[in-house]
Protein backbone atom coordinates (compact mmCIF):
# COMPACT_ATOMS: atom_id res chain seq x y z
CA UNK A 1 0.00 0.00 0.00
CA UNK A 2 1.38 3.43 -0.84
CA UNK A 3 1.26 6.28 1.60
CA UNK A 4 -2.27 7.65 2.01
CA UNK A 5 -2.97 11.38 2.06
CA UNK A 6 -4.13 11.18 5.68
CA UNK A 7 -0.94 9.43 6.77
CA UNK A 8 1.21 11.91 4.91
CA UNK A 9 -0.62 14.90 6.39
CA UNK A 10 -0.30 13.49 9.87
CA UNK A 11 3.46 12.94 9.45
CA UNK A 12 3.82 16.42 7.96
CA UNK A 13 2.04 18.01 10.91
CA UNK A 14 4.00 15.96 13.45
CA UNK A 15 7.35 16.82 11.88
CA UNK A 16 6.43 20.49 11.68
CA UNK A 17 5.25 20.62 15.26
CA UNK A 18 8.31 18.83 16.66
CA UNK A 19 11.11 20.18 14.49
CA UNK A 20 9.64 23.05 12.44
CA UNK A 21 10.84 21.25 9.34
CA UNK A 22 8.48 21.98 6.45
CA UNK A 23 7.65 18.98 4.26
CA UNK A 24 6.12 20.31 1.08
CA UNK A 25 3.27 18.39 -0.56
CA UNK A 26 4.91 16.14 -3.11
CA UNK A 27 7.45 14.84 -0.59
CA UNK A 28 5.44 11.65 -0.10
CA UNK A 29 8.26 9.65 -1.66
CA UNK A 30 10.66 11.05 0.95
CA UNK A 31 8.40 10.06 3.85
CA UNK A 32 7.96 6.65 2.26
CA UNK A 33 11.70 6.10 1.77
CA UNK A 34 12.74 7.36 5.19
CA UNK A 35 10.08 5.54 7.21
CA UNK A 36 10.19 2.19 5.45
CA UNK A 37 13.31 0.96 7.29
CA UNK A 38 11.73 1.91 10.64
CA UNK A 39 8.48 0.16 9.79
CA UNK A 40 10.41 -2.94 8.70
CA UNK A 41 12.43 -2.92 11.91
CA UNK A 42 9.17 -3.14 13.79
CA UNK A 43 7.98 -5.97 11.62
CA UNK A 44 5.48 -3.86 9.69
CA UNK A 45 5.53 -4.29 5.93
CA UNK A 46 4.46 -0.86 4.72
CA UNK A 47 4.69 2.75 5.79
CA UNK A 48 0.98 3.58 5.88
CA UNK A 49 0.22 0.73 8.28
CA UNK A 50 3.10 1.86 10.49
CA UNK A 51 2.01 5.51 10.46
CA UNK A 52 -1.61 4.58 11.15
CA UNK A 53 -0.59 2.41 14.11
CA UNK A 54 1.39 5.28 15.64
CA UNK A 55 -1.43 7.71 14.86
CA UNK A 56 -4.05 5.61 16.62
CA UNK A 57 -1.83 4.86 19.63
CA UNK A 58 0.79 7.59 19.76
CA UNK A 59 3.92 6.86 21.76
CA UNK A 60 6.72 9.38 22.17
CA UNK A 61 9.47 7.04 21.06
CA UNK A 62 7.86 6.19 17.72
CA UNK A 63 7.00 9.83 17.08
CA UNK A 64 10.54 10.86 17.81
CA UNK A 65 11.88 8.20 15.47
CA UNK A 66 9.60 9.50 12.72
CA UNK A 67 10.74 13.09 13.20
CA UNK A 68 14.41 12.14 13.31
CA UNK A 69 14.06 9.99 10.22
CA UNK A 70 12.83 13.02 8.31
CA UNK A 71 15.85 15.19 9.09
CA UNK A 72 18.40 15.48 6.32
CA UNK A 73 21.86 14.91 7.74
CA UNK A 74 23.92 15.55 4.63
CA UNK A 75 27.20 17.19 5.63
CA UNK A 76 30.89 17.22 4.82
CA UNK A 77 34.26 18.44 6.09
CA UNK A 78 35.12 22.07 5.33
CA UNK A 79 31.74 22.41 3.67
CA UNK A 80 32.07 25.33 1.22
CA UNK A 81 35.60 25.99 2.55
CA UNK A 82 35.48 29.75 3.08
CA UNK A 83 33.42 29.93 6.32
CA UNK A 84 36.14 27.82 7.92
CA UNK A 85 39.21 29.55 6.52
CA UNK A 86 37.61 32.82 7.69
CA UNK A 87 37.69 31.48 11.24
CA UNK A 88 41.47 31.29 11.49
CA UNK A 89 42.29 34.17 9.12
CA UNK A 90 39.93 36.82 10.53
CA UNK A 91 37.50 35.79 13.23
CA UNK A 92 39.80 34.16 15.79
CA UNK A 93 42.53 36.83 15.56
CA UNK A 94 39.87 39.53 16.10
CA UNK A 95 38.38 37.68 19.06
CA UNK A 96 41.73 36.91 20.66
CA UNK A 97 42.66 40.59 20.42
CA UNK A 98 39.36 41.68 21.93
CA UNK A 99 39.33 39.25 24.86
CA UNK A 100 41.47 39.09 27.97
CA UNK A 101 44.30 36.52 27.94
CA UNK A 102 42.42 34.08 30.17
CA UNK A 103 38.92 34.57 28.81
CA UNK A 104 37.34 31.51 27.28
CA UNK A 105 36.01 31.48 23.74
CA UNK A 106 32.94 29.48 22.87
CA UNK A 107 32.01 28.23 19.42
CA UNK A 108 28.65 26.64 18.61
CA UNK A 109 27.98 24.23 15.78
CA UNK A 110 24.19 24.36 15.79
CA UNK A 111 22.64 21.54 13.75
CA UNK A 112 25.93 19.65 13.73
CA UNK A 113 24.71 16.47 12.00
CA UNK A 114 27.35 13.73 12.46
CA UNK A 115 29.97 16.20 13.69
CA UNK A 116 32.08 17.03 10.64
CA UNK A 117 31.53 20.77 11.13
CA UNK A 118 32.55 20.73 14.81
CA UNK A 119 35.66 18.63 14.17
CA UNK A 120 36.61 20.73 11.16
CA UNK A 121 36.70 23.71 13.52
CA UNK A 122 38.64 21.74 16.15
CA UNK A 123 41.26 20.57 13.63
CA UNK A 124 41.73 24.06 12.23
CA UNK A 125 42.32 25.49 15.69
CA UNK A 126 44.73 22.75 16.72
CA UNK A 127 46.68 23.06 13.47
CA UNK A 128 46.86 26.80 13.02
CA UNK A 129 46.50 28.31 16.47
CA UNK A 130 47.57 25.61 18.93
CA UNK A 131 48.19 28.06 21.77
CA UNK A 132 44.55 29.19 21.66
CA UNK A 133 43.00 25.72 21.81
CA UNK A 134 43.01 25.44 25.58
CA UNK A 135 40.83 28.55 25.71
CA UNK A 136 38.28 27.36 23.18
CA UNK A 137 35.36 25.05 23.68
CA UNK A 138 33.10 23.83 20.91
CA UNK A 139 29.46 22.99 21.56
CA UNK A 140 27.82 20.79 18.93
CA UNK A 141 24.07 20.33 18.97
CA UNK A 142 21.43 18.66 16.85
CA UNK A 143 17.80 17.68 17.08
CA UNK A 144 18.59 14.08 16.25
CA UNK A 145 19.70 11.77 19.05
CA UNK A 146 21.47 9.59 16.55
CA UNK A 147 23.47 12.53 15.19
CA UNK A 148 24.44 13.67 18.68
CA UNK A 149 25.61 10.14 19.50
CA UNK A 150 27.61 10.02 16.28
CA UNK A 151 29.24 13.38 17.02
CA UNK A 152 30.19 12.16 20.48
CA UNK A 153 31.65 8.96 19.06
CA UNK A 154 33.73 10.84 16.50
CA UNK A 155 33.82 7.87 14.15
CA UNK A 156 33.46 8.23 10.42
CA UNK A 157 33.10 5.84 7.54
CA UNK A 158 35.47 5.66 4.61
CA UNK A 159 32.89 7.43 2.45
CA UNK A 160 32.57 10.21 5.02
CA UNK A 161 36.29 10.87 5.35
CA UNK A 162 36.44 11.08 1.57
CA UNK A 163 34.07 14.06 1.61
CA UNK A 164 36.30 17.10 1.87
CA UNK A 165 38.70 16.09 4.62
CA UNK A 166 42.23 17.05 3.52
CA UNK A 167 44.44 13.94 3.53
CA UNK A 168 47.16 15.55 5.69
CA UNK A 169 44.51 16.25 8.34
CA UNK A 170 43.15 12.72 8.06
CA UNK A 171 46.52 11.17 8.84
CA UNK A 172 47.32 13.70 11.56
CA UNK A 173 44.07 13.58 13.48
CA UNK A 174 42.54 10.17 12.84
CA UNK A 175 43.34 6.54 13.46
CA UNK A 176 41.72 3.52 11.91
CA UNK A 177 39.11 1.77 13.99
CA UNK A 178 38.07 -1.29 12.05
CA UNK A 179 36.46 -0.15 8.85
CA UNK A 180 36.06 3.37 10.20
CA UNK A 181 38.25 6.29 11.18
CA UNK A 182 38.26 7.69 14.68
CA UNK A 183 39.08 11.27 15.57
CA UNK A 184 41.92 11.85 18.07
CA UNK A 185 40.92 12.04 21.76
CA UNK A 186 42.38 15.57 22.02
CA UNK A 187 39.88 16.79 19.43
CA UNK A 188 37.03 14.87 20.97
CA UNK A 189 37.74 16.59 24.27
CA UNK A 190 37.29 19.99 22.63
CA UNK A 191 33.79 19.13 21.44
CA UNK A 192 30.75 18.73 23.69
CA UNK A 193 27.73 17.29 21.90
CA UNK A 194 24.17 17.60 23.21
CA UNK A 195 20.63 17.46 21.89
CA UNK A 196 19.00 20.78 21.15
CA UNK A 197 15.90 21.64 19.16
CA UNK A 198 16.37 25.00 17.49
CA UNK A 199 12.64 25.36 17.04
CA UNK A 200 11.98 25.26 20.79
CA UNK A 201 13.12 27.71 23.46
CA UNK A 202 16.88 27.21 23.68
CA UNK A 203 18.57 25.91 26.81
CA UNK A 204 20.93 28.14 28.74
CA UNK A 205 24.21 28.01 26.81
CA UNK A 206 27.00 30.29 25.76
CA UNK A 207 27.47 33.13 25.44
CA UNK A 208 28.93 32.19 22.09
CA UNK A 209 31.63 34.09 20.26
CA UNK A 210 31.09 32.26 16.99
CA UNK A 211 28.04 30.37 15.75
CA UNK A 212 27.88 28.07 12.76
CA UNK A 213 24.18 27.76 11.91
CA UNK A 214 24.62 26.24 8.51
CA UNK A 215 22.28 24.48 6.13
CA UNK A 216 19.42 24.14 8.55
CA UNK A 217 17.40 27.38 8.21
CA UNK A 218 16.56 26.24 4.67
CA UNK A 219 14.19 23.66 6.13
CA UNK A 220 12.09 26.24 8.00
CA UNK A 221 9.38 28.75 7.11
CA UNK A 222 9.96 32.49 7.51
CA UNK A 223 8.44 32.97 10.99
CA UNK A 224 10.51 30.05 12.32
CA UNK A 225 13.70 31.47 10.78
CA UNK A 226 12.95 34.78 12.48
CA UNK A 227 12.39 33.23 15.89
CA UNK A 228 15.53 31.08 15.62
CA UNK A 229 17.73 33.98 14.55
CA UNK A 230 16.45 36.03 17.47
CA UNK A 231 17.04 33.23 19.98
CA UNK A 232 20.50 32.51 18.61
CA UNK A 233 21.35 36.19 18.90
CA UNK A 234 20.38 36.13 22.57
CA UNK A 235 22.99 33.43 23.17
CA UNK A 236 25.75 35.35 21.38
CA UNK A 237 28.27 37.90 22.59
CA UNK A 238 27.52 41.37 21.17
CA UNK A 239 30.68 41.24 19.02
CA UNK A 240 30.13 37.64 17.94
CA UNK A 241 30.11 36.15 14.47
CA UNK A 242 27.41 34.06 12.80
CA UNK A 243 28.00 31.87 9.77
CA UNK A 244 25.07 30.65 7.69
CA UNK A 245 24.93 28.18 4.81
CA UNK A 246 25.72 29.30 1.27
CA UNK A 247 22.00 29.44 0.39
CA UNK A 248 20.98 31.19 3.62
CA UNK A 249 20.92 34.83 4.71
CA UNK A 250 19.47 37.12 7.38
CA UNK A 251 18.60 39.66 4.69
CA UNK A 252 14.85 39.99 4.42
CA UNK A 253 14.44 37.74 7.45
CA UNK A 254 15.79 39.58 10.48
CA UNK A 255 17.19 43.11 10.18
CA UNK A 256 19.16 43.00 13.43
CA UNK A 257 22.22 41.56 11.71
CA UNK A 258 24.93 43.24 9.74
CA UNK A 259 26.40 41.31 6.87
CA UNK A 260 30.19 41.54 6.71
CA UNK A 261 32.54 40.18 4.11
CA UNK A 262 35.31 37.96 5.48
CA UNK A 263 37.66 36.78 2.78
CA UNK A 264 35.53 35.12 0.13
CA UNK A 265 32.74 34.38 2.57
CA UNK A 266 30.27 36.45 4.51
CA UNK A 267 29.39 36.43 8.17
CA UNK A 268 26.64 38.16 10.14
CA UNK A 269 27.18 40.26 13.24
CA UNK A 270 24.59 41.53 15.70
CA UNK A 271 23.77 45.22 15.18
CA UNK A 272 24.08 47.08 18.49
CA UNK A 273 20.84 48.24 20.06
CA UNK A 274 18.56 46.20 17.80
Amino acid sequence: MTLTATSFDWVRALVHRESAIVLQPGKEYLVEARLLPIARQRGIADVSTFVESVRSRPDTDSMRCIVEALTTNETSWFRDGDPFTALTSTVMPALLAARGPNERLQIWSAACSSGQEAYTIAMLLVDSMPSATTRVSITATDLSREMVARTKAGRFSQLEVNRGLPAPMLVRHFTRAGNEWEVAPALRRMVTATECNLAAPLPRMGPFDVVYLRNVLIYFDLPTKQVILRRVRELMRPDGWLFLGAAETTLGVDDSWERVVVGRSSAYRPIKGK
Binding site: S157, Q158, L159, R176, A177, G178, N179
Partner: protein
Protein backbone atom coordinates in the same frame (compact mmCIF):
# COMPACT_ATOMS: atom_id res chain seq x y z
CA UNK B 1 35.26 -4.20 15.77
CA UNK B 2 37.24 -7.37 15.79
CA UNK B 3 40.07 -8.02 18.16
CA UNK B 4 42.43 -10.81 18.77
CA UNK B 5 41.15 -12.71 21.74
CA UNK B 6 43.96 -13.50 24.07
CA UNK B 7 42.97 -17.05 24.64
CA UNK B 8 45.22 -19.90 25.66
CA UNK B 9 44.70 -21.24 22.16
CA UNK B 10 46.41 -18.27 20.65
CA UNK B 11 49.38 -18.51 22.97
CA UNK B 12 49.86 -22.15 22.16
CA UNK B 13 49.78 -21.52 18.46
CA UNK B 14 51.61 -18.22 18.42
CA UNK B 15 53.90 -19.29 15.59
CA UNK B 16 51.03 -20.08 13.26
CA UNK B 17 49.34 -17.15 11.51
CA UNK B 18 46.15 -15.79 13.11
CA UNK B 19 42.90 -17.21 11.86
CA UNK B 20 40.86 -14.88 9.65
CA UNK B 21 37.73 -15.38 11.70
CA UNK B 22 39.55 -13.87 14.68
CA UNK B 23 40.64 -10.90 12.62
CA UNK B 24 37.50 -9.77 10.86
CA UNK B 25 33.82 -10.33 11.55
CA UNK B 26 30.97 -10.74 9.10
CA UNK B 27 29.51 -7.35 9.87
CA UNK B 28 32.76 -5.57 8.98
CA UNK B 29 33.05 -7.41 5.67
CA UNK B 30 29.41 -6.71 4.91
CA UNK B 31 29.78 -2.99 5.66
CA UNK B 32 32.87 -2.76 3.46
CA UNK B 33 31.01 -4.32 0.54
CA UNK B 34 27.93 -2.20 1.19
CA UNK B 35 30.01 0.98 1.12
CA UNK B 36 31.58 -0.05 -2.16
CA UNK B 37 28.16 -0.71 -3.66
CA UNK B 38 26.61 2.51 -2.31
CA UNK B 39 29.43 4.64 -3.67
CA UNK B 40 30.17 2.93 -6.97
CA UNK B 41 26.94 1.24 -8.02
CA UNK B 42 24.32 3.56 -6.53
CA UNK B 43 23.32 5.20 -3.27
CA UNK B 44 20.26 3.02 -2.77
CA UNK B 45 21.79 -0.30 -3.78
CA UNK B 46 21.13 -2.42 -0.73
CA UNK B 47 22.89 -5.70 -0.17
CA UNK B 48 20.74 -8.13 1.75
CA UNK B 49 22.64 -10.57 3.95
CA UNK B 50 20.97 -13.74 2.70
CA UNK B 51 22.47 -16.75 1.01
CA UNK B 52 21.23 -17.43 -2.49
CA UNK B 53 22.45 -20.01 -4.94
CA UNK B 54 25.31 -19.11 -7.20
CA UNK B 55 24.62 -20.07 -10.81
CA UNK B 56 26.79 -22.63 -12.51
CA UNK B 57 28.61 -20.10 -14.67
CA UNK B 58 29.75 -18.09 -11.65
CA UNK B 59 32.87 -16.00 -12.06
CA UNK B 60 35.29 -14.82 -9.42
CA UNK B 61 37.78 -12.05 -9.03
CA UNK B 62 40.32 -11.85 -6.25
CA UNK B 63 43.27 -9.95 -4.87
CA UNK B 64 46.14 -11.22 -2.72
CA UNK B 65 47.03 -9.67 0.58
CA UNK B 66 50.58 -10.28 1.79
CA UNK B 67 51.74 -9.20 5.22
CA UNK B 68 51.20 -10.36 8.79
CA UNK B 69 48.13 -12.06 7.33
CA UNK B 70 48.37 -13.82 3.96
CA UNK B 71 45.51 -14.79 1.76
CA UNK B 72 43.03 -13.62 -0.83
CA UNK B 73 39.82 -11.63 -0.91
CA UNK B 74 37.42 -13.18 -3.42
CA UNK B 75 34.26 -11.83 -5.02
CA UNK B 76 32.04 -14.37 -6.77
CA UNK B 77 28.80 -13.89 -8.69
CA UNK B 78 26.95 -15.12 -11.75
CA UNK B 79 28.08 -14.07 -15.21
CA UNK B 80 25.00 -11.94 -15.86
CA UNK B 81 25.29 -10.31 -12.43
CA UNK B 82 28.87 -9.40 -13.34
CA UNK B 83 27.67 -7.87 -16.59
CA UNK B 84 25.03 -5.80 -14.80
CA UNK B 85 27.59 -4.65 -12.26
CA UNK B 86 29.88 -3.49 -15.06
CA UNK B 87 27.04 -1.54 -16.66
CA UNK B 88 26.10 0.09 -13.34
CA UNK B 89 29.71 1.00 -12.61
CA UNK B 90 30.07 2.78 -15.92
CA UNK B 91 26.55 4.27 -15.88
CA UNK B 92 26.21 6.83 -18.69
CA UNK B 93 29.75 6.03 -19.80
CA UNK B 94 28.83 2.42 -20.54
CA UNK B 95 29.21 1.36 -24.18
CA UNK B 96 26.09 -0.17 -25.82
CA UNK B 97 27.75 -3.56 -25.80
CA UNK B 98 29.75 -4.49 -22.73
CA UNK B 99 32.73 -6.57 -23.79
CA UNK B 100 34.04 -9.52 -21.82
CA UNK B 101 37.16 -7.53 -21.14
CA UNK B 102 35.08 -4.81 -19.45
CA UNK B 103 33.24 -7.35 -17.34
CA UNK B 104 36.46 -8.93 -16.14
CA UNK B 105 37.99 -5.54 -15.55
CA UNK B 106 34.98 -4.33 -13.57
CA UNK B 107 34.80 -7.46 -11.47
CA UNK B 108 38.53 -7.26 -10.78
CA UNK B 109 38.24 -3.64 -9.76
CA UNK B 110 35.42 -4.44 -7.33
CA UNK B 111 37.63 -7.12 -5.75
CA UNK B 112 40.43 -4.56 -5.55
CA UNK B 113 38.21 -2.00 -3.81
CA UNK B 114 36.81 -4.52 -1.33
CA UNK B 115 40.22 -6.15 -0.86
CA UNK B 116 41.98 -2.86 -0.15
CA UNK B 117 39.49 -2.01 2.55
CA UNK B 118 39.58 -5.51 4.05
CA UNK B 119 43.37 -5.27 4.14
CA UNK B 120 43.20 -1.99 6.07
CA UNK B 121 41.21 -3.72 8.82
CA UNK B 122 43.73 -6.58 9.13
CA UNK B 123 47.07 -6.20 10.92
CA UNK B 124 49.49 -4.34 8.64
CA UNK B 125 51.45 -3.20 6.90
CA UNK B 126 50.70 -5.46 3.99
CA UNK B 127 50.80 -5.39 0.23
CA UNK B 128 47.85 -5.72 -2.11
CA UNK B 129 48.22 -7.70 -5.31
CA UNK B 130 46.72 -6.96 -8.71
CA UNK B 131 43.25 -8.37 -9.34
CA UNK B 132 42.86 -11.75 -11.03
CA UNK B 133 39.71 -13.09 -12.64
CA UNK B 134 38.63 -16.65 -13.32
CA UNK B 135 37.17 -19.56 -11.45
CA UNK B 136 37.38 -19.21 -7.72
CA UNK B 137 40.38 -20.59 -5.89
CA UNK B 138 39.16 -23.27 -3.52
CA UNK B 139 38.45 -21.97 -0.04
CA UNK B 140 40.03 -23.78 2.87
CA UNK B 141 38.76 -23.99 6.40
CA UNK B 142 40.31 -20.66 7.29
CA UNK B 143 37.68 -18.53 5.56
CA UNK B 144 35.37 -15.67 6.48
CA UNK B 145 32.54 -15.82 3.98
CA UNK B 146 29.65 -13.45 3.52
CA UNK B 147 26.66 -14.23 1.29
CA UNK B 148 24.70 -11.32 -0.08
CA UNK B 149 21.84 -10.62 -2.42
CA UNK B 150 22.07 -7.71 -4.82
CA UNK B 151 18.83 -7.05 -6.68
CA UNK B 152 17.86 -10.58 -5.80
CA UNK B 153 21.01 -12.09 -7.27
CA UNK B 154 23.59 -13.74 -5.11
CA UNK B 155 27.14 -12.76 -4.62
CA UNK B 156 29.65 -13.93 -2.10
CA UNK B 157 32.72 -12.36 -0.61
CA UNK B 158 35.20 -14.63 1.02
CA UNK B 159 38.38 -13.74 2.81
CA UNK B 160 40.53 -16.86 2.57
CA UNK B 161 43.67 -17.43 4.59
CA UNK B 162 46.47 -19.14 2.70
CA UNK B 163 47.34 -21.21 5.75
CA UNK B 164 45.47 -24.49 5.96
CA UNK B 165 44.40 -24.84 2.35
CA UNK B 166 45.98 -24.66 -1.06
CA UNK B 167 45.00 -21.47 -2.87
CA UNK B 168 45.44 -22.08 -6.55
CA UNK B 169 44.68 -25.47 -8.00
Amino acid sequence: MTELHDTGERRRTSDTPPSITDLIDEETVRSIVQEAWSALIGEDELLVPLPGGLPENAVSSWVHVAGPWNGIVVLTCGRSTAEQLSRELLKEHAPPVIEDEDIEDALGELANVVGGNVKAVLPGPSALGLPEVGSAPVAGSDTRRVDLLWRGQSLTISVQGSAGAPLDQ
